[in-house]
Amino acid sequence: MTVVLGIDTGGTYTDAALVDYASGAVMAGAKALTTHHDLSIGIGKAVAAACDGPAVSPADVSLVGLSTTLATNAIVEGRGSPVCLLLIGYDPDLIRQYGFERELVTQDVVYLGGGHDGAGDEVEPLDEAAARAAILARRNQVESFAVSGYFGVRNPAHELRVRALVEELTVSANGESLPVTCGHELTTRLNAVRRATTVTLNARLIPLLRELIATVRSTLDALGIVAPLMVVKGDGSLVRAEWAKRRPIETILSGPAASVVGAWHIAGRRDVWVVDVGGTTTDIAALRDGRPRLNSEGAQVGKWRTMVEAVDAHTIGLGGDSLVYLDADGRVIIGPRRVVPLCLLASQHPWVVDELRQQVETHQRLAGQFVLSQHRTARALSDEDQALLQHLAAGPQPLTSLVERLRYGSLVVRRVESLEAQRLVLRSGFTPTDGLHVLGHFERWNTEASRLGAELLATQVNLSPAEFCEQLVASVSNRVTTALISKILSDEATLPDWEQEPSAAALLARALGKAPTSDLDCRLALRHPIVAVGAPVEAYLPRVARQLNTDLVIPPHAEVANAVGAVAGGVVLRQQVLIRPLSTNQHFRLHLHNGVRDFSSLEEGIAYAQQVVPARLSALARQAGADQVEVQMTRVDQEAPVKGGWGERIYLGTQLTFTTAGRPRPGGSERFVPGTRLEIYDLDQNEKNRQKHH
């Protein structure tokens, strides 16, 4: 029996799933809390728990797939190692004029003479001397180099030369040189600034991902798992860890991608909308024809617009563990901050229940929240920060007591938030998870703590705790429904601005069932089913499916669908080759990964590409970890009609896309088939199940 292991590190939870490779059936799943300061700790716990269950020996695991939020989080948080960006043929005045320096990610930017034009002809010779000088000056200060040339995607010659120089000049005693990434390796698209952004972000991530892979590898080895490790890319495909180390930027959005792939493999549907409710965020993405739909504009991560084609996922800051609080106007706000649910904290620290009981009596400000310290940091902290952390040394403290005991009273909240952002403290408070405990939909931890937390909030808005929780859960569903509608409209028409468009908001309210007395009802219908994964989706998604008048599929093992998806993808590599007509001599120019080549006819050029590219791509795919690769080519000719009397059509160019798809090694002749234990819940069934639990 071949068993594979999938691991997904999310914002709150790290999931592990053991899958039987032949049947695709999920054998076991486990969750652990994600340990952001060192992801491998949470990974180790989840994997150990998953392998603990069934009669599977760790040595039986033949492949490990890992999807990680490392790249996405590091970029959003601005983390990364020092990198030098070498720009060839860029105009610093243009960059300055339009404020593009902000997009370059690093301050260490070197402008080198050189560059090409749109046809791939050299505009200026590469200033090798300056390149050498820059590399030598920085080789001891940076951990990697990023190289981008103007029109480098039309002719990579200068980028390749600079890369060779970096490899030559930074080689250390052990024979290794510093990592270097070139623009033309990551994309074939135009926009020199965005390419620079992408290549710099990639270079910054390389040391981080190397470290993660190394620690995951040793964690797996310690558990007795010797299988090869593969990493999920943002398009849902898999590559060997070695390969991912060179292009970490391609792993952004691997979490949402894995949940879409997992949804397909467990639920077996080819055209669905996937909703993944996590602890911190909810991700919404489309599965089309069995594949995650990609964003061809390039993924946006944090404030950066990259050129990575990753899953087109819409993410909202709302999850099962989002903090629920009342704002100054008494409105209930959910998220985006993620906290430890009160029920979970109380199950680890029973005194929390007594504290909450007391707070219900006394009605203090800032009641219902606790603060815990996280991991320590070597960084220097201010005296006030240190004092606060000192108070937390013995264990979690109620927020109210911090306000009392520390000198600066109400500024404590500001300070706590700042330490939270640095991941030095974590808060605990009322969450949708607590709401589910109160309502009896999901009772894993201390329900009394949830009930008291609900009371603290409910009395402030004149509701009973049960009513408050019902409204909270409905609120979560409404937000998910709204997000789905926004995503589809944004893709097909324009992103709705519910605040600024009152008539749209009015229709939405009616569609959500918020205006039962109106003469006008609004029924929106989603034309595809929703597959819900994450936990616990039974509580929130039936209402969403009802509001959108569509089927809901909650597959078995929905709570670890991400982890299943992390090992279910195939190895897919693409290479795009452009052919353009030359205006000077009626020839056709082929733009390849290693230079340009001219041909007297279009068909000759295409024939040449078909000769050299598939072999290269197959070899790369095998390096990336694929077995039995197949190369396919699609050809798109770009031409347009010319007005009558002036000729027939004008030829603008041809785009050849070579794609290899293969299963990841190890071998095994069985194909990976969609899960055999599919159960489709219809809405009535979900309702019956719910009522059964009351």
Binding site: Y98, F100, R194, A640, W646, I650, L652
Partner: protein
């Protein structure tokens, strides 16, 4: 007041440049604001010219003569408009593609746009893609208009759009294309924002691009 502006419009349509100049001065003497004369007299006149040209009732030579009359009127108003800081409808950079020396169509578009209140920058003929990019940086126009009259130079329109894309500037301007062999399908294929079949439509398209 409306009377004199109507007269300006009518004489402009007939291409009587001296009459238009005289009437514009008279309107100013009457105390009418330069901006009003421009909008109610000159632009209004060119609008009718454009409408009839599109309908096929006027032909290119007549449009050129009307444009000349408009220029005569503009000559008087321009210094006063510059003083009073009247906003233009938008800035428009226009040129004929590299390798192409045709300019009649381009000049007609330019005149019609000026008649509609746009500020124009004419890059001339045989304009390299890089020169368009430089013009965007220097003049910061709202719209770029590209003209080609040879099928061999149409392809330069694509090269110019690519040059703007590579510079990261594609989104700072709207791009309009035209010329005898150019088609709407071609415009879409190369990623232009719009196509105009003639000078009068060019004004309509330009207006919709600036949100008028």
């Amino acid at each position: 007041m409306a009377d004199i502006l109507e007269k300006i419009t009518s004489h402009l349509y007939d291409g009587e440049d001296e009459m238009v100049a005289e009437l514009v001065q008279k309107a100013l003497d009457q105390g009418i604001e330069p901006q009003e004369i421009l909008a109610g007299g000159l632009i209004a006149g060119m609008d009718v010219v454009g409408k009839d040209f599109k309908a096929g009732d006027l032909f290119v030579p007549e449009v050129l003569i009307a444009a000349r009359a408009m220029h005569a009127g503009m000559g008087i108003l321009r210094p006063l408009l510059a003083e009073s800081d009247v906003p233009s409808a938008g800035k428009y950079v226009i040129g004929t593609m590299a390798g192409d020396l045709h300019d009649i169509g381009k000049n007609l578009v330019k005149m019609m746009l000026e008649g509609a209140g746009f500020e124009t920058v004419d890059l001339g003929t045989d304009v390299q893609p890089g020169v368009f990019v430089d013009a965007v940086r220097e003049h910061q126009p709202t719209i770029i208009g590209m003209s080609a009259l040879l099928t061999t130079t149409m392809i330069q329109m694509k090269a110019t759009i690519e040059a703007l894309e590579e510079a990261g500037l594609r989104d700072v301007v709207k791009i309009m294309v035209g010329g005898a062999p150019v088609t709407a399908a071609f415009a879409e294929e190369i990623g232009a924002d719009a196509y105009a079949p003639d000078a009068a439509s060019a004004v309509d398209v330009a207006r919709s691009m600036v949100g008028a």
